[in-house]
Symmetry: none
Subunit: 207 residues, 4 copies
DNA sequence: AATGAATGAGGCTTCATTCAT
DNA sequence: TATGAATGAAGCCTCATTCAT
């Protein structure tokens, strides 16, 4: 009703706004990833190339922005982990999951910590369960088909996996061995920890 | 026994002051552990039962207090890990190390993170190297005597170990399984990851 | 007249901000002048009609503000003294210098003290030398042309002049005799102290 | 009653206390003179070699101590100025007064400022009038006997004199010329400013 | 009476959020 | 709608004063 004769302008504005929205999210990911969750709003706005007022038009508060990012990180993570976990062979699936998580960590840095650490229950009830379920399914499948050892302590295995991606160690590993090297090292380590003793030891070798 | 002939009166005030010093340190450990490193000075002072001025008489600044605690945590950790690492059998030693670290984490919470995370280089140069060395020595010994597998990726193993104690997962594990249960689960997991294939699988079982 | 073709809208915010900047400076001059250099930031902000945060947007710290004011006072003083010292006749020039300094003191109060007292070497190296040079030039000129006595102790004369404007006595004199009366009394006094004996005694009389 | 058999001890304690009293006053003079009136209580107590508690037993508050010192400075100053002003010849008397004031300034530093600046009306009503009266009497006497010029602006002359001792310039002069040189320079300057034109110009020369 | 550790009000400064332009 | 200047609550720290020893 209000934009009868200028759909193009109106659409353009929306496009601008949407672009700003994305730029703010990207900037926030970047800044939170590098500076940690205490980063200042001003730095995010600057990096996004907008004023703080604009940032607040898109997100109602600092916590609102953080929440949006954490949920987004969580969603992204969950989707990629689920996809990776679908890989046929359980050992390959675990490797794929670890590669995916390494990549997410590279992108989301400190945000991964919260998304993965099981502290987001107040943001998304069952958020952590969803992630856990993805891992659990994969591990159970591997145990069932004899790929993983029968006495594997699945919650402990998941805790260890989450720890590596939550502790900041990945950045160090990536810095020392590069992205592929870090993912390979992590994969090998965890495969050793969970492969059945009878399994071909070669399976713990990375590609 | 320690001060057999100590005069009681002249030194009493100092004893009070020393007691306050300890109470402040304890309160700070507690509050930093629970609230994280952003905790407020006032809360620490309150919990110690002293005024902020008293806290500042004992520690020159917020950062000074934090630094003291982190160094103390680091020292405590280092000492206990070295002691545990001395255990004869390499597998037993690894278990002892993990039990010790679990205990330190329980006491120092969030402070363990910094002390263990390799971010204290500006506080104590080579601080992280000292910790790493303690782990490395133990693992090399185990590899040398055939307890651990020959192809063990020692840096990765250490990274994973540090991660578990740095990520906050330990509190969750302790909450779910109790102190002994958590330490046992962690031990079992890491032993599985590093024991030689020929080793008695039963060794990965906790006591 | 000053900005004939200035666009009005785009620059308006800046004009507001600049106005605040000036209001803060003016308020700070006022408050420091009356309350001394220990005045509280809050009082300055209040008097400027802004919040403390705004004050800190314009000046990075209490000392930054003070520094800016002292340098400004010094610059103002130096410029006006130099201009007055240019007056043809040396006796008239001294009178003009004293009138100018009286006016500066009226405006800057306690700030004049620091600007004139030779304590700003860390803010502006040679700051005091610049002021001294302005006085010295004038006095030497008067001695050279026979207006001032040949044995005039120039450093002592300058010290006495600076003292009067540095000691707070000027405010009292102004209060008692008004601005013109105070300047005249100071001028007469110092002319008596430096005029050559042969000089027409009437020259020490003010206008 | 309580000290029947040990008058010596009792007297000794009083002597100790009195000694402390003096040491605190001396330390306070020293510290206030050097650091200015914002000096910290702790520094004074340290320099006096007593605890802050002892300082507070002798002076009810920081302001109480400051008040005592200012009044003491004022009394000392007044007494010495009066004595000096009694000198027969008015010119000699002015010189004596200036020497005395230089000496007081050397001893009391920043305290002289307040004692001389006429800001102590709330501490001692008419305090400033007493000082002014001492100067005024001397100057009137000189004018009456023809030593000083008839048109001397006595309040202005006094203001200038007070200024020199109030502005901190004396320390600089003393630093550059030594104690005797500074006093001589100040004397010469002020004598030039007030001596009668017919007077022997040589009288403005210092000893 | 002397000591100095303890106290806490009050100052300076930061930064999330608001709002006039 | 975008901007960024303005705001002020809240945290850190200092130091005059009190008080237990």
């Amino acid at each position: 009703m209000e934009e009868p004769a200028a759909p193009e302008t109106a659409r353009h504005e929306r496009a601008d706004s949407a672009a700003n929205h994305e730029r703010i999210l990207a900037a926030a990911r970047d800044v939170f990833a590098r500076r940690g969750l205490d980063a200042e709003i001003k730095e995010i706005a600057d990096r996004a190339g907008v004023g703080v007022g604009t940032l607040y038009r898109h997100f109602d508060s600092r916590d609102g922005l953080l929440r949006a990012l954490i949920l987004q990180t969580h969603d992204d993570l969950l989707q990629r982990l689920r996809a990776a976990a679908d890989t046929q062979d359980a050992a390959d699936a675990l490797r794929a999951v670890i590669h995916a998580a390494t990549d997410v960590y590279r992108q989301f840095g400190a945000l991964t910590e919260v998304a993965l650490a099981g502290r987001l229950d107040h943001l998304r009830p069952d958020g952590h369960e969803e992630l856990t379920a993805a891992f659990t399914g994969l591990l159970r499948r591997g145990v069932a088909d004899g790929t993983f050892r029968a006495d594997l302590d699945i919650p402990m295995m998941i805790a260890a996996l989450e720890s590596v991606f939550t502790s900041g160690k990945v950045v160090r590993l990536v810095a020392e061995r590069g992205y592929a090297g870090a993912a390979a090292a992590i994969s090998d380590f965890f495969l050793h920890a969970c492969l059945a003793a009878s399994a071909d030891p070669g399976r713990a070798r990375s590609t």
